[in-house]
Amino acid sequence: MSGNTEEHGPLFMAVILAGGLVFGFGLALSGMAKPEIVLDFLQFDDLGLVFVMGGAAVVSGVTFFVGTTFLGDAPVTGRQYTRRVKEFDRNVLLGGAVFGVGWGISGICPGAAYASVGIGNFPILWAIAGMFLGAYAQGYWRSR
């Protein structure tokens, strides 16, 4: 555990906070924090969200390429730069399908829901309560 505690210094938290600020600003600017805009996308009334996920994925793609190709270890933590590659199993499909039904009903996903709080959207607390209940139900079921 001691290997993890050194990451929790003030500089570490400052970098995380700065990243979160820019991330949340982007979610608000992009409109993803508004369920109506997400639902418009899913109903093909406004396909603008393609540019949100596309633009973000291009930036993160360049970032991961630069990190893993040209750089050594991260300055604040000493961690090695890696890509996000998770193992495939049928839960990836099942979870994706359940997520899709939820996203299609509500127009909200985790990051966008937090950002929605920031733009003063208090009804979004229903969605955040739902997400915590869902994550708890899934974890409780998995723990048995």
């Binding site: 993890n4 938290m13 990243g19 979160g20 600020l21 820019v22 991330f23 949340g24 982007g26 608000a28 409109g31 993803m32 899913l42 109903q43 093909f44 406004d46 603008g48 393609v50 949100v52 996920m53 633009g55 994925a57 291009v58 993160s60 793609g61 970032t63 991961f64 750089l71 991260a74 604040v76 090695q80 890509r83 590659v85 998770k86 193992e87 495939f88 839960n91 990836v92 979870g95 399908a97 939820g102 996203w103 299609g104 009903i105 509500s106 996903c109 990051g111 920031g118 733009i119 003063g120 208090f122 229903w126 739902g130 915590f132 209940l133 869902g134 708890y136 899934q138 974890g139 409780y140």
Partner: protein, 164 residues
């Protein structure tokens, strides 16, 4: 005249334009990049749900080492997301905004999002942004699945006359 038809059709697909969407996406990617370059961490938004539950639940699932080790910074990350969105609302949007989507859609849909993101190992930021950016086949499969299902679901809900 006929040359104008494709342009008009493109306009119909993007009634709000594309600038704000693309710029917003760049900022989302930039936020992830700041954390990555500084710390080597690939941050998704949905693990916050599980790691935060470790503060209040004794269930084994939430008290795994990786959640206990990351739960503090995930709270800071989420506080940052809320604050960053608030900066946008105050400085660029002229104040608060609230949704008209009905509470039961938010609660019920949110519940399924909570189950699905944990079961499927990620969400729109983890799989959709960071996973796609990593060219991960697992993430591309997950995103294709949730996109197709979400489009079908939203169209069905709309066809049933539920609005907003």
């Amino acid at each position: 005249m006929s040359a104008l038809v494709p342009l008009a059709a493109v306009g119909d697909l993007f009634p709000r334009g594309i600038a704000q969407y693309a710029l917003g996406g760049l900022f989302v990617g930039l936020g992830a990049s700041i954390i990555y370059f500084g710390t080597g961490i690939i941050a998704g938004a949905s693990t916050f749900l599980e790691s935060t539950l470790s503060y209040v639940s004794d269930a084994d699932r939430f008290n795994r080492r990786k959640y206990l080790a990351s739960r503090d910074w995930r709270v800071v990350f989420t506080v940052g997301i809320v604050a960053g969105a608030a900066v946008y609302a105050v400085a660029f949007a002229g104040g608060a905004w609230t949704t008209d989507v009905q509470w039961w859609r938010l609660l019920g849909g949110g519940f399924l999002v909570g189950v699905g993101t944990r079961l499927g190992k990620g969400c729109t930021s983890g799989h959709g942004v960071c996973g796609i950016g990593s060219a991960s086949p697992t993430s591309i499969t997950n995103v294709a699945t949730f996109m197709a299902v979400a489009i079908g679901t939203a169209q069905l809900v709309s066809a049933l006359g539920v609005n907003p």
